[in-house]
Symmetry: C2
Subunit: 406 residues, 2 copies
């Protein structure tokens, strides 16, 4: 009999599985171009007005526990942000502050999933969606974002799958989307979003929208928050400071459950209960993020400058990738990832896992295997580094492909 619990097998994170190897390479004196973590502060200094607010909170001795569900100032700032950006109104009490969206995902599954319950996840998914669901005993109904349709939701078959789930007496408890998407960089069409809202409503699934990249949109794309079109349908918005406020290391996320139906009220109360189990999020960081959300002028300036720079880098890297005969990518219009498809037929390499491991060992470039997002035959490249590094890295990927071509 195994000593550890069986859920341990789901405690995995594809984004970091090669970190041990990368560290070994670094310790041996070689440099590694790390393109596996979506970590803006590694390339863009966290805006000064946010740092200043953080320091102020520390100087004012805001170092004790906060309310487990989050400080009121931050909940109010989140509420005001949604009013300002999306024109929607909800009470600050509908917000629960979490230790990053990572914790919000654990709360989501923990509150909804009994062993055997199902949930709809679209491939390629953010790496943690599937293991987090399975960690709590859930099963995924794996649907697809369609690569040939610019990674939009493939609605054909989705309804059929949900009906099958119902036949198995295993009604899908929730459906989760990421918009803008990680790993594809796609901003979902309004039309598609509306259909997803409709489906969620018709089949009584909680609609979960992970909108952590909501202000990182470019190339003319138009982002719509689910909160804007799901009025009357139970839904949950996941967001936080990590990407848009360029502060991944603060670990401040939030979960909004704005509706007033019975299920939404139950979920909101449960989010609060779950937050109390771990007492508090980091207190001074919450004050920093509240200031980051409230200081609209400084924020707009900072985010505009960061997004412009990101757009330039992503477009540059996408062009280089599409010049290669070994891979090609849909051009992203949000977030900062590129998710090229490898032409595996041209390569003497078994799969994306071997590709990623050997690329790291041979070329000191760390990217993530597509199978970690549920989509083998792809790799995810974080396109945050400056153009000269992107050029070097993609040049090495190209050289690697050439060396291993059939």
């Amino acid at each position: 009999m195994a000593f550890l619990s069986s859920r341990g097998r789901y405690a995995i994170n594809a984004l970091e599985e090669d970190d041990v190897l990368a560290d070994k390479i670094i310790r041996s004196g070689r440099q590694v171009i790390k393109m596996n973590r979506g970590d803006p502060p590694a390339y863009f200094k966290t805006p000064e007005y946010i740092i200043d607010a953080y320091i102020e909170a520390l100087k004012e001795n805001r170092t004790g526990y906060s309310d487990a569900t989050g400080i009121h100032e931050l909940k109010e700032a989140v509420s005001a942000r949604y009013k300002r950006l999306y024109g929607i109104n909800f009470n600050p009490g509908k917000v629960t502050i979490t230790q990053g969206v990572s914790e919000a995902l654990l709360f989501l599954n923990s509150m909804l999933i009994n062993s055997g319950d199902e949930a709809v996840i679209f491939r390629p998914y953010y790496t943690q969606y599937l293991p987090d669901l399975e960690f709590y005993g859930g099963k995924a109904i794996l649907e697809r974002y369609s690569e040939k349709d610019n990674w939009n939701v493939d609605l054909d078959g989705l309804e059929k799958s949900i009906k099958k789930s119902i036949k198995r007496k295993r009604k899908a408890k929730y459906l989760i989307i990421t918009n803008p998407n990680n790993p594809t960089g796609t901003v979902l069409d309004l039309k598609v979003l509306k259909e997803i809202v409709e489906l969620s409503k018709n089949y009584g699934m909680i609609l979960v929208s992970d909108e952590i990249y909501d202000e990182i949109v470019y190339n003319g794309a138009a982002f719509t928050s689910i909160s804007k079109i799901a009025k009357g349908v139970p839904h949950m918005i996941l967001n936080g400071s990590s990407k848009v406020l360029d502060s991944t290391g603060f670990r401040i996320g939030y979960m909004i459950i704005p509706e007033e139906d019975k299920r939404s009220l139950e979920m909101n109360a449960e989010a609060k209960n779950l937050s109390r189990v771990r007492l508090s999020s980091n207190t001074p960081a919450q004050y920093a993020v509240a200031a980051g959300l409230r200081n609209v002028v400084a924020h707009q300036q900072a985010v505009r400058s960061m997004v412009n720079e990101i757009a330039g880098r992503v477009n540059f890297a996408s062009r280089l990738i599409n010049e290669s005969k070994y891979m090609n990518t849909v051009k992203p219009s949000g977030a900062f990832y590129i998710f090229p498809k490898l032409d595996m037929k041209m390569l003497k390499i078994k799969d994306d896992k071997e590709f990623v491991d050997r690329l790291l060992e041979e070329e000191c470039v760390q990217v993530t295997r597509g199978s970690g997002f549920g989509d083998p035959g792809h790799i995810r490249i974080v396109s945050l580094p400056p153009k000269e590094i992107l050029e070097t890295a993609i040049g090495r990927i190209e050289a690697f492909c050439k060396r291993h071509s059939r």
Copy 2:
């Protein structure tokens, strides 16, 4: 069929269940003396050298993700601390940085407990031990700290219980103690600790020692870390910055699994895997805590001054409580809690829950019900406030008892 998952019923926290009522009272314009949260920074300024290190980390842009398992500097500082305080050696790789001991408790249960597995918990227990175990499907073997034996472990019957568990084919996976104790303030005897180590070894239970108050010891008590006497026996130390470094709101804890046996190695690897699921702890706070642990002279000065003050307050409050005919307490020698037994026969009040709720409503004093620690008929009082507040609060408790006496 319930919509929320069944584990939701274990997402409870007795320490905060009256916060909503307390907030309501505060909003109505009355002041509440809050003695429910063990939150040193509310009464003692976090030492300046720690704040300075935190600010320095922010100014140096340490705002991105850290290694999920924690920054190396902090793991090294933890390792050096244990060498300095307890003379034991372990590799920094044996340390996993967690978001407070709260998260470490979730990791513990998550890694060891399959549905139906058992664990030994002593009553009165820290509020989260039981619900956290049950949250992951576990069952408690509830043993006792004995009030008449200065809240030391009641070893009679413990071995019998473990044998019963084995008969049920439900071997207890772990045994957890808190030393110094919350809520009783007891520092466990070395003799008792040695017997617990022996029992854990004989019955193959992982010995878990929550030592978050390890430097908050007074009245001549001598604290022994389990790590010092459990050499060769698989064990796990839980600790963090919250209490000793007076920084609860940083959310920096750690889990040490120092041994080299197969189970310890498996648990240590699993702790790392679990940490990767949520990407990172707060990064600048880790640098602050690393500095807090490394700066030994400044630390000793700060902790000595805080502990002296705490000892004075706890002794003062204990004396006042023992002057009452409605309650009496064992005199604590560690941490900063007092856990008096109420003489319920003398009161026209049903139980400790009613006592606590009505005390809050009528006297604006918030304490925690003993049943939240598995020991009805008691209340827990956080004795961190200055003497004049302690005097007022205990005076009000006394008046409350008088008013409701039989």
